[in-house]
């Protein structure tokens, strides 16, 4: 067990830190949450800067246009970018963390050449069309049909909760290519251009009142067979590749962000009057809860290192991601519950009031409610831990 970073790893960190210090001040101002074109432009600009500096797809293999960083260097990359206050991957999330790695692992040479460069440079934004109104947790129950017609598929159906659909260029989409096969066997993984005729997007408002995701309708949309990644009807296997990437590293930088959140809450508590001669910090219960959450996030950070080291040795992300995701998403919500308690009635305002940072905190609290739902609900993660790690029998 060695927690020390090697000289090479520290070198990578120092170089990255120096670049971040020079690059971040040149980034344009952050757009409003409701301004989707502005958000896309902002995320793309950041991706382009990473690309030009050689940090795009830092952990992707060199053949795919990445830097071939080791898992530990990737961890350092996520830690340092978060620490420096760099933007989140945002609209590039699906391309960089799902679609790109999947195409790289399961696509053809032609597909890799055609799609990977646009993902890395930020020119192409991707979305994920897996879920459907009738198929969320039970993803394999999806019904969107793709019927072969010559060298094209004709798609009919609809997708829902598709994040970034409003501004995406491509969608990684699961479709049913064999309706008669058992549900996991008749699925294919397709690349669907979002400007294809017959495809329409209807934004869905979230509990924050903003449109983070959308419904996607497919009405006789024609997609070349050449856009299929993997074999026909073998899409479930490809999907498992995609999901292991999603759970592998998607939340790492957020642990760092949560540790910062606790420091912010502590300083807010010290400044928050509770009575003429006491602040919120004098409340032992609240203070101890902050202490406990510190332990939680420290332990989750140690667990991240454990999982990353394990994956570096075995070469695959493994089910440790489910253990992490389950605990992290629930703990993150607890941290925002605490923020809410600290703010008192200011938590009734999704905007700053009386000099308090209630706007961001309340917005983030609402947003954190999705963590135990998206990317597999907590109940589904518990099933995964119970069945795949502990070997308990499957649901019937």
């Amino acid at each position: 067990m060695d927690l020390r970073y090697t000289e090479a790893e520290e070198g990578f960190r120092a170089e990255l830190r120096a670049w971040l210090a020079s690059a971040l001040p040149t980034l344009p101002g952050k757009p409003d949450r409701a301004d989707w074109p502005g958000r896309r432009a902002y995320d793309t600009a950041w991706q382009r800067m990473l690309f030009d500096a050689g940090y795009a797809g830092v952990h992707w293999p060199v053949e795919a246009g990445g830097r071939g960083a080791t898992p530990t260097e990737h961890l350092i990359f996520l830690e340092e970018t978060e620490r420096a206050g760099a933007p989140y991957v945002g609209a590039n999330f699906v391309g960089l963390l799902h679609a790109g790695p999947t195409i790289n692992a399961a696509g053809t040479e032609e597909q890799r050449r055609r799609y990977l460069p646009g993902i890395l440079s930020g020119d192409d934004v991707w979305c994920q069309g897996f879920s459907e109104p009738g198929a969320g947790s039970d993803l394999a129950a999806l019904r969107t049909r793709a019927v072969r017609d010559g060298d094209e598929y004709v798609l009919n159906g609809s997708k829902i909760w598709t994040s970034h659909a409003e501004v995406a260029d491509y969608c990684e989409m699961l479709v049913r290519t064999d309706p008669d096969a058992p549900k996991h066997k008749g699925i294919s993984w397709l690349i669907v251009p979002m400007d294809a005729p017959g495809l329409s997007v209807r934004p869905l408002d979230t509990i924050m009142g903003t449109s983070e995701f959308a419904e996607v309708f497919l009405d006789d949309v024609r997609v070349p067979v050449a856009n299929r990644v993997g074999e026909e009807n073998d899409g479930w296997r490809v999907t498992m590749v995609t999901l292991s990437f999603e759970r592998g590293t998607a939340f790492v930088s957020e642990v760092v962000a949560c540790r910062r959140l606790l420091r912010e809450l502590a300083s807010l508590a010290r400044a928050m009057p509770r009575s003429p001669d006491a602040t919120a910090w004098d409340d032992t219960t609240l203070r101890r809860e902050l202490g406990h959450l510190t332990a939680e996030f420290e332990a989750l950070w140690a667990l991240t290192k454990w999982n990353v080291s394990k994956a570096s040795r075995s070469g695959v992300p493994g089910v440790g991601g489910s253990v992490f995701k389950l605990r992290f998403s629930e703990t993150k919500q607890k941290a925002y519950d605490l923020a809410h308690r600290l703010l008192g009635r200011a938590a009734l305002c999704v905007e700053d009031v009386a000099g308090l940072p209630s706007g961001a905190l309340v917005d983030e609290r609402l947003s954190s409610l999705s963590y135990t739902i998206a990317a597999g609900t907590s109940q589904i993660q518990r099933n995964i831990v119970g069945e795949r790690i502990l070997g308990l029998p499957k649901e019937r």
Binding site: L290, T294, A295, E296, S309, R396
Partner: protein, 328 residues
């Protein structure tokens, strides 16, 4: 960074696990609980064998007759001790082995059973008093050695954990200072991490016991582990154990190499996460076992009760949470 066990560390852990399985199997444990209780619950013969495995002198330099390993290795061994539910003041004696003089030498060789109590506890309950040859008291100004003959203590008739006998000590006689404040502070941190390792072993063992039971016990024509309500209890037990594992190992590595992290954060994190994993897993394991879980003959309660003992040693949640809040 390579935060995984080395092959030497894996061998050490599995070697100590087989020692426990051989010398302190379930029969021996149940014998202690139900039949032949030695004074203070410490079996001297087993103690001598434990000393031979190097448990007590594990971190002493080889030149001083020790094994020359670090806190990381000690944590792995104590995790196994926790799994096996080995009784006795293991952590206290292991810590005492690093002290100067006769106490240290005796503890390291296994000739002495050493107890270590915290002066600031109320009420002051001393563990395994009938077994210990030396009693040390830890206070902020250092470690004192108490003259046993001057001690007036009342035995507790029914300690919650049948394997951890207790005495109530009303007033602590003065003792001779044998180590300074810095040593007391160091022992407190090491004790917290090694006790957390015992808790980790307990948490993991409880997860295994519950999962096995959930795979065997049938109700409504199927094994109960197929019911999500039960499966999810088991899954939560595993998650708590793995989170605690990462925290305990990280703290142990950090004590060996302070450049790897901040002990002031890593140590309380480890103790909090491990105490929570062991005690909450104890509760959930009782639930998974149903009515059997409420019987004396099923071991679950022994693990839960031991977890409760450890949760009061080397700092409870109040202390560690406050310590972490102070770092914010």
């Amino acid at each position: 960074m390579d935060f995984q066990l080395t092959s030497a560390q894996r061998d050490l852990a599995s070697g100590f696990r087989s020692f426990c399985e051989r010398r302190f199997d379930r029969d021996r444990l149940r014998g202690l609980v139900d039949r032949d209780r030695p004074p203070g619950m410490v079996d001297r013969e087993l103690w001598a064998e434990l000393a031979e495995t190097g448990v007590f002198c594990l971190r002493l330099a080889e030149d001083d007759g020790g094994v020359g390993l670090g806190t990381a290795e000690a944590a792995l061994v104590f995790e196994e001790a926790g799994r096996a539910l080995l009784p006795g003041p293991l952590v206290a004696t292991h810590l005492a082995a690093s002290l100067p003089g006769r106490v240290g030498t005796g503890a390291a060789s296994g000739d002495l059973v050493v107890g270590l109590a915290a002066a600031d506890q109320f009420p002051l309950l001393v563990e395994h008093l009938d077994a210990v040859d030396e009693l040390l008291i830890r206070s902020p100004d250092g470690i004192r050695r108490i003259d046993r003959s001057a001690l007036r203590a009342t035995a507790i008739r029914t300690p919650t954990d049948p394997c951890t006998p207790l005495h109530h000590v009303a007033t602590v006689p003065d003792g001779a200072l044998i180590a300074d404040a810095a040593a007391a502070e160091r022992l407190l941190r090491e004790g917290a991490v090694l006790t957390a390792a015992l808790q980790l072993g307990i948490a993991g063992k409880l997860t295994e016991m519950s999962t096995r039971y959930a795979r065997e016990r049938e109700q409504f024509g199927r094994v109960i582990g197929g019911f999500q309500a039960v499966k999810h209890l088991c899954a939560d037990m595993l998650v708590r154990t793995e989170v605690a594992r990462a925290a305990v190992y990280a703290a142990a590595v950090t004590l060996d190499d302070p450049e790897a992290g901040d002990p002031a954060v890593a140590v309380p994190t480890a103790k909090l996460m491990a105490d929570e994993a062991a005690t909450r897993n104890g509760k959930d394991a009782t639930q998974v076992h149903g009515g059997m879980g409420f019987t004396w003959e099923v071991d679950v309660h022994l693990y839960l009760k031991r977890a409760w003992v450890h949760a009061t040693q080397y700092g409870g949640p109040e202390e560690h949470e406050e310590a972490l809040a102070a770092t914010l």
